[in-house]
């Protein structure tokens, strides 16, 4: 009987593994010319944030390259346990994928161990600029401070209370770049405004993110922004209080069409295409790439359903133009 209990537990555990691997994980023997990409991500492909930005980009690349016959995508999502992610990365490398993407800076040390074992496989990881000096590792990052800056300029122009709230996960990496850029944007347009920043210490605690939003609003904020996947809880609170929201990583307009003014969206396909070209030319790594406003890796998408669309759209375009042509310099703290 006790054996059966173990078996049951095993089956239960297995069901997690299966669901975590996702539906796309059905590798088929590839014709020679097919380019095969595997990606390991910390959250879900539809998190409206970090992971979705990469997945959407891969799908766009696939379309450009001629569909699933020419470009195969497999993914492992919700790999918030780094050890599991490392196992998945190794597995994909063993199966001979052309490019294995470790989409999360927490996977760096695992990749540093794995990559030398597979010299013929190309790896990419982000967001970072560090390739560990390995010839088969690409690094990529987003200049998310640029989009943050644009969002900040818009926020400064739209606030009435001159108090703006920011919710972040952990004070590091992509999130810190975005938050610092946002702050710089607000202060450049309205030096007297107050930007309150709240890092909640978690990428997944939706409830705490929501309560952080409520706290910002109680402290007088009439505009909020936030980064990472747990902010979906905060967007709901902003909508309840009818407070404007600025998004990043993916377009978050669908969640709350009335209050989302603009979202910085990553178009990783810009860096992906450069990597793919290099791989097909025989270079497997050793370079790092940045997605930014200038190369189209970052796009500010102003929500057409927003009440302030007509005002925000030209202001956003002007700011983007200024950053690209260098007339606006972003100084981070």
């Amino acid at each position: 009987m006790k054996k059966f209990a173990w078996l049951l537990t095993l089956v239960l555990a297995l069901s997690l593994v299966l669901s975590a691997c996702g539906a796309g994980a059905t590798p088929t023997p590839a014709p020679v010319e097919k380019f095969r990409v595997a990606v390991v991500m910390p959250s879900a492909i539809n998190d409206l944030a970090f992971s979705q930005s990469m997945y959407d980009a891969l799908v766009r690349v696939q379309k450009d390259m001629g569909g699933p016959d020419k470009f195969e995508i497999v993914y492992s999502e919700n790999m918030f346990v780094v050890d599991d992610a490392a196992a998945a990365i190794r597995d994909y490398a063993t199966k001979g994928y052309d490019l294995v993407i470790a989409h999360g800076s927490q996977y760096g040390s695992s990749l540093q161990e794995i990559a030398p074992d597979f010299p013929d496989t190309s790896f990419a990881w982000g967001t970072t600029v560090d390739t560990f000096g390995l010839p088969n590792v690409f690094a990529y990052e987003a200049a998310s401070q640029e989009g943050g800056y644009v969002n900040g300029v818009l926020a400064a122009a739209l606030t009435n209370t001159d108090v703006i709230g920011v919710i972040g996960p952990i004070e590091t990496g992509d999130a810190k770049l975005y938050v610092d850029g946002f702050k710089a944007g607000v202060l450049s347009a309205k030096p007297g405004a107050q930007v309150n920043v709240n890092y909640i210490g978690s990428f997944s605690d939706t409830a705490l993110a929501a309560e952080a939003a409520t706290t910002h609003i109680a402290a007088g904020a009439d505009i909020l922004t936030g980064t990472a996947q747990m902010v979906v809880g905060a967007i709901g609170k902003a909508e309840e209080a009818n407070v404007l929201w600025f998004g990043t990583q993916s377009n978050q307009s669908s969640l709350a069409p009335k209050i989302v003014v603009a979202s910085q969206v990553y178009h990783w396909e810009v860096v992906l295409k450069q990597m793919i070209d290099l791989i097909q030319g025989g270079t497997l790594g050793g370079q790092s790439f940045t997605a930014n406003l200038a190369n189209g890796g970052e796009v500010i998408e102003v929500n057409p359903d927003s009440n302030v669309f007509d005002y925000a759209k030209p202001l956003a375009e002007d700011t983007v133009k200024g950053i690209i042509d260098g007339s606006i310099k972003i100084t981070l703290p």
Binding site: A5, L12, G165, A207, T215, A219, M230, G236, S254
Partner: protein, 310 residues
């Protein structure tokens, strides 16, 4: 600045936030209190909460009926509890391991269903705030205590009910005795297995409600792994509360209020590194636990399968 913390707005904000944040902990931890008092350690709470959260959200999204959503969450929690009870009572499995199994099942299954049935994060209109006439107009107090949604009120109502059931009813007497000395209870004709089935299923139902309180009352979204370890904290709160509903209430409020406080500490730009701020609830809760010397022991039969000796 630190002095900013002592304004009415901030104090009201902290109390109102703390009371909301404590809600899911209360449901889950009171449910866990019942099962632990009967001698069953259920580590699957997190999984039950996640599936409950998804069930409530999805049914509400598709039918628009919040009550139907809530009831589905309770049903899903009850079914998870039923399975857990079968594994722990009939198969006498090691409870820690099987509990982790149920957690992983809930985590994986809620994610899978979310992918298949929804595919993207959406929102619903959750349980509205209920303003209690007269009381909710009192400045400060009104916002803290009398302008919350129904599931928040329910969580706090649950505490005295649980206390009453455990201490003043024959059922409570049976639950306590089964958790302390199942052999003695058995010798007096108490059906140990049936009592444990009851408490595990009750725990499942309350965990389901805990999940629903997040997805259709407090946040009104569903996202994978949205409980973010709250189920495990609920289990820890049962220990913190010394297996008493009032103790659990104290622990849940303490943890949540400090969490609300640290949010304000950051928002008010008090110069504390964010890393330190987010640690505060955990550190202070541990400090209270180790400094308040408690003689209360865990139920003697906790996590021990019951088998008639041969």
């Amino acid at each position: 600045m630190i002095s900013d913390l002592f304004s009415v707005t901030v104090l009201v904000g902290i109390l109102a936030s703390g009371i909301r944040l404590a809600t899911p902990y209360l449901y889950a931890a009171i449910g866990e209190t019942f099962s632990q008092r009967s001698g069953v350690l259920n580590l699957g709470v997190e999984g039950q909460m996640l599936l409950g959260a998804f069930a409530a959200f999805y049914v509400t999204l598709t039918t628009g009926n919040l009550w139907l959503g809530l009831m589905t969450a309770m049903l899903v929690g009850a079914l998870m509890g039923l399975a857990m009870a079968y594994v722990t009572v009939n198969l006498q499995a090691q409870q820690g391991i099987s509990g982790i199994g149920f957690y992983l099942f809930g985590l994986g299954m809620s994610d899978l269903l979310f992918q298949k049935l929804m595919g993207t994060v959406e929102t619903v209109k959750g349980f509205p705030k209920i303003h209690i006439p007269g009381l909710s107009d009192i400045p400060g107090i009104g916002e803290i205590f009398f302008s919350q949604n129904i599931l928040v009120y329910g969580a706090y109502l649950l505490v005295p009910i649980a206390w009453f059931v455990l201490n003043k009813t024959t059922l409570g007497l049976k639950i306590r005795s089964v958790g302390e000395n199942p052999d003695a209870a058995d010798s007096l004709g108490v059906n140990v297995g049936r009592i444990r089935y009851f408490t595990i299923i009750l725990g499942g139902i309350l965990s389901g409600v805990a999940g629903a309180s997040l997805s259709i009352a407090l946040l009104n979204v569903f996202q994978q792994n949205m409980t973010s370890g709250q189920g495990f904290i609920a289990v820890a709160l049962v220990y913190f509360g010394a297996w008493r509903p009032t103790g659990v209430l104290g622990g849940a409020l303490l943890f949540s209020l400090i969490n609300a406080l640290q949010l304000w500490v950051q928002v008010l730009n008090i110069p504390v590194p964010s890393e330190i701020a987010v640690m505060m609830p955990y550190v202070l809760t541990i400090l209270v636990l180790v400094t308040s010397v408690s003689k209360v022991r865990a139920p003697s039969a906790l996590s021990k399968p019951f088998e008639r000796e041969n």
